[in-house]
Amino acid sequence: MRAAGIDIGSRSIELVILDNSGIIEARTADSGFDPMGVAGKLMDKVAFDRIVATGYGRNLFEIAFEGDTVTEIKAHARGAYHLFPDAGTILDIGGQDSKVIRTNGAGKVTKFEMNDRCAAGTGKFLEIMARSLGFTIEEFGGAAMTADDELPINSMCTVFAESEVTSLLARGEDRLKIARGLHSSVVRRAMSMLKRVSDDGPVVFTGGVANNPCMVRFLEQLTGRDVLVPSEPHMAGALGAALIAHEMMR
């Protein structure tokens, strides 16, 4: 029996296929302007018996294809519980939203908070800032870590932060220090949400932004908590959805 999970996010789509032995296939693609078309292509030539969709495109998926849906909250909680069963807190920072989820010992969601109304504190924010400083998103975190000092960035709004960065550059400031300041401002923002939901124990960090080493290090340093990052942090939602599909077949 093969179970599939698909996470249709605003920036990318992930697909995970499992059977009783574990993950047998994992795929990812950019959402583009036609997410259902991309989802269809991702599922091309893979066989599965049941699929569960999550992410902001889940309701469209349910209409376009056969499948059940769960929210990204439940999917991430399930995925993280599978990867790190002893951690009760999940921080997910994706392309356009961020969320903190608290689970009980059995992996069931007990509390959550989300920011999905603006780009502040999300992957999108880091992407725009990287671009205005002339970095690719892949090198951004590594570069920020080489700075020995940081320049504080006060604006959290993407538009204002961009002009703040521009004026710092115009003053001749070091772009590495600016990069470091930007990273710590995103971490601080995530921390306030984190504190409202859970204030102790290890944190599972998922979503594309967890690939950024500077984010991980600052999160660890500033919270003093253990930060656990799965090997493919952006796949956690799809993995959770696949696990839920697998349970539905039993």
């Binding site: 909250i73 969601v109 509390k111 989300m114």
Partner: protein
């Protein structure tokens, strides 16, 4: 059959506009209100028609933003926009407005509203301590009575107040009976239907008609429940909505909850259970009214422990599985109070709460849907 009743209600609602026009031609006055704290008995006692004017629609918000700041509560903007555009028939009918100094946004908005209508503002105390606050509040109630007498030319006697108390007690009882239908598990009535009924009945100039309609509804839904008919099952999660007022047009959260598979069983707000009380006919009537209305548990009061007591009661009586606390954007009093409400629900009842902050527009429907669906998944 349920649909027939809703149609009758709709017809009554439409006919009501024509009725009020006729009443006004015959010289009857209409008085608009913006808040539950204004004792409606005094309006009814003067033979005037009370009209609840709180804005619940998004359409006039843009016009209001030409004058009011954007980051203001949508209820205030909607109310003001209706006045500025003159698109609300009930505002047009009003010979006078009675308002209260509740939250900062509202009381400052009323200053601007004066340019369109005579607005009489009651200075509402900030707490419910009877020793400190009753005397000034009673004074305000007395001035309100005099203002209404001046506008209507009717002397408000004790007999007239008693008749108004009787009528409004019966109306409140009928509203309570409608809302209490949802205590049945599973509820025979949807939360969105409850809002529709409470909202529309509120405008009816002929209160007897409204009471009659509500009583018929109660009989009808009770019969459905006895036959085991319900849109829900015993397993459907039962949600209590708490917080800011809602009405037709500002009920998106109730609708998304229902679309996501929940049964909305109650409203701990001004639209709903905060309206449930009985006024006694004893002693000095103005004193009785002042005491009763001062005790309404709204977040503009500090402290506002009555709200937690009302929540306790409703959680028990309506067999609630989870609470959704709704805050209109920029409503500081409800927004801040959310923290204490969540803590109380957790400590006293072990109940989860979802706090939602939104406005009247549809722009965040999908974001709300994720939170609401995730909340229901975790119940």
């Amino acid at each position: 059959m349920s649909q027939d009743l809703m149609n009758t209600l709709q017809q009554a609602f439409e006919q009501n506009v024509i009725d009020i026009e006729n009443y006004k031609k015959d010289g009857r006055k209409a008085i608009g209100c913006y808040c539950l704290y204004s004792p409606v008995e005094l309006i009814v006692a003067a033979g005037a028609i009370p009209l609840p004017l709180c804005g619940t629609k998004n359409d006039p918000v843009a016009a209001a933003e030409e004058v009011l700041p954007r980051n203001l509560c949508p209820l205030i903007k909607s109310s003001y926009g209706f006045a500025a555009l003159n698109t609300c028939p009930f505002f047009r009918f009003s010979d006078m407005i009675v308002a209260d100094t509740t939250c900062d946004g509202k009381k400052k908005m009323f200053e601007l509203m004066q340019q369109y209508k005579k607005v009489h503002v009651l200075q509402l105390p900030q707490n419910q301590n009877v020793e400190k606050s009753l005397a000034p509040w009673l004074d305000e109630v007395r001035i309100m009575k005099e203002e209404i007498e001046a506008v209507t030319g009717v002397e408000i006697t004790t007999e007239r107040i008693d008749a108004a108390i009787d009528l409004l007690n019966r109306e409140r009882d009928a509203k309570k009976a409608v809302m209490d239908l949802a205590q049945i598990k599973p509820s025979p009535i949807k939360g969105s239907e409850l809002i529709n009924i409470l909202f529309k009945v509120g405008f009816l100039a002929d209160k007897e008609k409204g009471i009659g309609l509500m009583n018929t509804m109660v009989d009808h839904y009770k019969a459905l429940a006895e036959n085991g008919e319900s849109p829900y099952t015993a397993k459907t999660p039962r949600i209590l909505i708490s917080g800011v007022p809602m009405g037709v047009g500002s009920d998106k959260v109730a609708k998304i909850l229902e679309e996501s598979g929940a049964s909305v069983v109650g409203f701990e707000n001004c639209t709903g259970y905060k309206q449930v009380f009985t006024v006694e006919k004893e002693g000095d009537r103005l004193d009785v009214l002042a005491r009763q209305y001062l005790s309404i548990p709204c977040s503009v009061m500090s402290p506002n422990t009555g709200r937690l007591e009302l929540l306790d009661r409703m959680i028990r009586d309506f067999k609630v599985d989870g609470v959704v606390d709704l805050t209109w954007q920029a409503c500081h009093t409800y927004n801040v109070e959310s923290f204490s409400v969540e803590k109380h629900l957790k400590d006293a009842h072990g109940l989860p709460m979802l706090h939602l902050e939104t406005d009247y527009s549809d722009s965040d429907t999908e974001q709300l849907r994720v939170r609401i669906q995730a909340f229901i998944e975790m119940l």
